[in-house]
C-alpha cells in the first residue's frame, strides 16, 4: 500500500479540549498516525477533540472511513468530535457522507473552541 504523507500535531488549549493539526493527506495509509494522534489528544479530562483540517491536501473514501472509526472511539470515551478549516469541497464531502450530522463543523478554531466550552 502507499505510504502515509501526513503529519499530525496535538495541542491542548484547555485541559478538556485537544486540537489535532492535520497536514497532508488522509488515506487508509494514515490510520496509525491518526490513531496515535488521537491517543495523545485523548486524556482523562478530555471532553472534546477538534480536528484542524486547514492543512488538508487530499482525502479519499478510505480516509473518510477512518474518521468514522475515530468518531466511534471518541463516542466511546464520551468525547465530542469537532472540525474546522474545511474548504467548501471538503464540507461538501462531510455533507455527502452525512458525517456533518455527527461531527460539529466550524469555520475556525475560535468557533470550535467556543462550541466546546
Amino acid at each position: 500500500m502507499t505510504e502515509a504523507t501526513v503529519s499530525m500535531d496535538v495541542r491542548t488549549p484547555d485541559e478538556s479540549v485537544s486540537v489535532i493539526d492535520i497536514e497532508g493527506e488522509i488515506t487508509a495509509a494514515c490510520e496509525p498516525i491518526l490513531m496515535d494522534a488521537y491517543g495523545r489528544a485523548s486524556g482523562d479530562r478530555t471532553r472534546c477533540v477538534i480536528l484542524n483540517f486547514t492543512g488538508l491536501e487530499y482525502m479519499n473514501s478510505s480516509g473518510i472511513g477512518l474518521l468514522v472509526t475515530l468518531l466511534v472511539r471518541a463516542n466511546r470515551n464520551r468525547q465530542r468530535l469537532m472540525a474546522y478549516g474545511l474548504t467548501d469541497h471538503y464540507r461538501q464531502i462531510f455533507e455527502l457522507t452525512r458525517l456533518d450530522e455527527a461531527i460539529g463543523i466550524h469555520s475556525d478554531e475560535a468557533g470550535a473552541l467556543a462550541a466546546a466550552a
Binding site: 473514501s61 478510505s62 472511513g65 463516542n75 469541497h89 461538501q92
Partner: protein, 244 residues
C-alpha cells in the same frame, strides 16, 4: 503537487445529494426502494459497526492496480454471484451515479435496493447505501501493489440499518455477505487468469447498537420488496383499468 491532488480529489467525489434519483440504469430491474431515499453512512445505521476486508493476491497476473480497477468498474455486475443482479448506471461507475440492485434472498424472495457511487478514481471506487438497504455504510473496492503483486480488495464499513436486518445479519447474514464478496473477488481474479484465494478479516469496531435509529425499519427494503412481490397479482389485474 497540492493543487494537482486537490483537483483529482475534486473530480473523484460525488456531489452531495439529499435524496437519490434513478435515471439511466440498465433495464430489467424492479427499480423500487431507491428513488427518494437518502444515502446513509454508518452514523445513520442501527446495528453493531463492522469493518470487513476481503483481499485476493493476483499472483502471476501481469496487471497494474489501475488496470484491475478499470476492469472491475467496467464489468462489475459480471463478478457477482448468481441470483444477485447489479443494474449498472448507463454512464458507468462514476461519482454521483446510482445503480439498482436485485438481491436473491432465501425462499425465492428478491430484495430490491440500490447504491450511490460516492467516490471513484483510478485506484478505487466506493458505493454508498441508501435508506432501506441491509446496511448503512459504504464499500470501497481498491487495488494496490504489494511486494510486486497486485492485490484487489473489497472493504466494507457498515452497521445493519435496522433491528430486523441486525437480527438477519447475526443469523446468517454476515456469512452470506462473506460468500458474496469472496465469490466476487474470485471471479475478478479469474478474469485475470488467476485462481485466487480470498483472505478475509472481520473486526467489530463498535459493539453498541444505536437504538435511536431503530425507526429505520420503516424503510426496510426487504419488507417493502416482499409487499411489492405479494401485491404483484393485484397490480397485474388492475392494469387494464388504469387510465392512460
Amino acid at each position: 503537487m497540492s493543487s494537482e491532488r486537490t483537483h483529482r480529489d475534486g473530480e473523484s467525489w460525488a456531489k452531495p445529494v439529499e435524496r437519490l434519483e434513478v435515471a439511466g440504469v440498465q433495464p430489467g430491474s424492479s427499480g423500487i426502494n431507491v428513488a427518494g431515499r437518502r444515502p446513509t453512512s454508518p452514523v445513520q445505521g442501527f446495528g453493531r459497526m463492522w469493518q470487513k476486508t476481503y483481499r485476493v493476491r493476483l499472483l502471476g497476473a501481469d496487471v497494474t492496480p489501475q488496470q484491475v480497477i478499470a476492469v472491475w468498474k467496467r464489468d462489475f455486475p459480471s463478478f457477482w454471484p448468481k441470483n444477485n443482479r447489479f443494474f449498472a448506471p448507463l454512464a458507468g461507475i462514476q461519482p454521483g451515479e446510482v445503480a439498482v440492485l436485485d438481491l436473491g434472498m432465501p425462499g425465492g424472495m428478491k430484495l430490491s435496493t440500490g447504491v450511490l457511487v460516492m467516490y471513484a478514481d483510478d485506484e478505487s471506487f466506493t458505493l454508498m447505501t441508501p435508506q432501506g438497504h441491509m446496511f448503512a455504510g459504504w464499500i470501497t473496492f481498491s487495488a494496490y501493489e504489494d511486494g510486486g503483486v497486485t492485490v484487489a480488495q473489497a472493504h466494507v464499513l457498515m452497521r445493519a440499518s435496522d433491528p430486523i436486518y441486525e437480527m438477519g445479519m447475526t443469523f446468517g447474514g454476515h456469512k452470506q455477505e462473506d460468500r458474496h464478496w469472496e465469490h466476487t473477488l474470485q471471479s475478478l481474479a479469474q478474469a485475470f487468469g488467476v485462481d485466487g484465494h480470498v483472505v478475509s478479516e472481520m473486526v467489530c469496531v463498535d459493539r453498541s447498537r444505536q437504538w435511536g435509529n431503530a425507526g429505520n425499519v420503516w424503510h426496510n427494503s426487504g419488507i417493502r420488496s416482499g409487499i411489492h412481490m405479494a401485491t404483484a397479482p393485484a397490480r397485474f389485474a388492475a392494469k387494464p383499468f388504469r387510465r392512460g
